[in-house]
Amino acid sequence: MRPLTPKRVFWICSVLVGVLFVMVVVSLRMGAYPISVRDIVMTLFNGALGRRDRIPSDFWLVVFGLRLPRIALGILVGAALATSGAGFQALLRNPLADPYVLGVASGAALGAMLSLMFAPQVPGAIQAAAFVGAAATTGAVYFLGRRGGQLDSATLLLAGIISASFLSAAIMFLGTTLSGRDQRGMAFWIMGDLSSPPSLNLHWLYLVLIVAVGSIYTTSSDLNLILTGEQEARHLGVNVSRVKLVVYIAASLLTGLAVSVAGAIGYVGLIVPHVMRMIFGTDYRLLIPASAIGGAIAIVFADTLARTVVAPTELPVGAMTALAGAPVFIYLMRRSVR
């Protein structure tokens, strides 16, 4: 393998951002309202220059009111989920770790649901509650996954699966107490849905994303060492417990963030980091940014399909990620085995 240099990280990330950009343009083009690529370019160009009056009001509404905010939300959620997946895989030294497998997403969903029931009007309460739910579940799974003081891979996964099903049952139970209208909203949300943007301003959510991804990124070379073995890393001067704490908090925060705005979108946290590993190698200094951008690409792509496959009705994006994610994963796994 070629040595990893900052230059290489930069170029790979630039290429990925380019792919994301193409995906965004494709996604802007697709939808129930027909707009040609030329009109989109015209709308974006005039929009960027602040010339509202030159844009037909329909184009303005569809591009700036519906599609771009949704894409922005998708990028946020995809980046958060993929990065937290990569973080959990390093933290638990388990390639199958992912916010959904570990029940962390269910914990976040339960927290978000409780805040929706008891404090629906407080801005940011959903995000805070989702973070608390995610962090508490991560802690519980981490604790339950130990065997004789050591983190055991199989026990950990079992603990995660059991937590997930327990928390889902709790969500179902709470769901029956909701009125019909909220129940429908909740059912859609549990499947993962980007069609209803959050009441909170995207600014703050992006800020949280950047801080959390950034803090995981600062530990990336330490994570590389931890992956070879905690003892070895400790001998090389890595403050293992500090690194783990940072990743633990940041990954929980990212899961809570994603779940609070878009519900449970599965597979992204598991598959995107693996795909990135298969393509670019296992170095976390490249894997973290590559996963973040890759997750954004995956969600924007999946959501474009969700909006258009059975138009004008929309599918939950979670269904699309599962449908598209599983075959891709199997293909890549078989290819790498060969």
């Binding site: 040595p3 240099t5 900052p6 930069f10 990330c13 129930a32 309202y33 329909d58 509404l61 569809v62 700036f64 009111g65 519906l66 599609r67 771009l68 905010p69 922005a72 990028i75 030294r93 390639p95 107490t177 009125s179 019909g180 209208r181 909220d182 429908r184 909203g185 859609f188 069609s195 209803s196 943007p197 301003n201 995207l202 600014h203 992006y206 800020l207 994303l209 950047i210 950034g214 990124y217 600062t218 070379s221 590389n224 060492l225 992956l227 070879t228 073995g229 070895e232 090389l236 590993r277 298969m278 190698g281 296992t282 200094r285 940014p289 138009a311 004008p312 009705t313 929309e314 790498s336």
Partner: protein
Amino acid sequence: MSLAISREAFLFWCDTEERLFTPWRRLFTLGIASALLLSAAAQASTWRGFPTQAMVPGTATRVVTDEVGRTVSVPAEVRRVVTLAPNLTEIIYALGLEDRLAGDTNYCDTPPAAKAKPHIGSPVSPSLEAIVALHPDLVLATTSINRRQTVDALARLGIAVYTSDPRTVRGILDSIARMADLMGATAQGAALAAQLQARLDALRARIKDRPAVDVLFVVWEDPLVTIGQNTFIADALRWAGARSVIESKQNYPRVSFEEVVRLEPDYIVLTMDHEGAEENAGASLRARPGWSQIRAVEQGHVAVVGSGMDRPSPGLIDGIEQLARELHPDVFAATTAAMSSAAKEFSICVR
């Protein structure tokens, strides 16, 4: 490729390459990424806040409060309406305002002409783009099937959305009158509501001395789903001289078969989902294990009413009348006889 890297190679690699990753370079990369993302986020903020029709000069608007307490600013002249539920489409047609119906949902099938209108998707997950493309002056939604998020998103785009929240039959009539008023058809709305109310009053006058029949209203057979006391269907049952045996705060509770056995309803009420279900419904219920032993089924007390019964629309009154006739046949037999004798007298007078 595995996660594990040979330790020696790894340590060597760390030694030579780590120096290239000086902290400031790392921060620089992070900074660029942050700047990119922040600029995207900053732009995202300008996408919020769309002018409502109210702000477009030259268009008069009126501000109303809808049935869920939202303030809605509706253009004074509503020319294009989009409905988000089948019952709302039915109301538009009943008011004779179908010319203004710009679009409806994939499920709008009553009257059949509604199927030919442009569709905007299903009531639960409609395409917002398709709604925008229809340029509606007003979008009608209902709490009985639409999601709050859909209404929020449309409102954020500056589209006027009126949400109806009927909990009683009377509430449905009020809601019809109010929606008609919004569309500038106040007289039609009042007339339709009054006409439906007159039918209900006439029905009540006939069956007021009859004790209420205990019924189990079946929304869904398998799993068994029924209605709670706070739904318009429970109120419709009261108008039809019946009472739902299930006491539930949930709107559409799932109940166990044991509960049905325990409560011993006098009648089982089913709705007709499709044509020709009348004979099948009773038969399929009897075929279910245990059901044939229930007193109501044994005695053949299974009432099948039209699909109007589970829609908060003018068709509901038809359903109520039909159900009342099934549940209180003797009253109707007597009054039909009385009516015909009255008619005779009338004809004698005329002569």
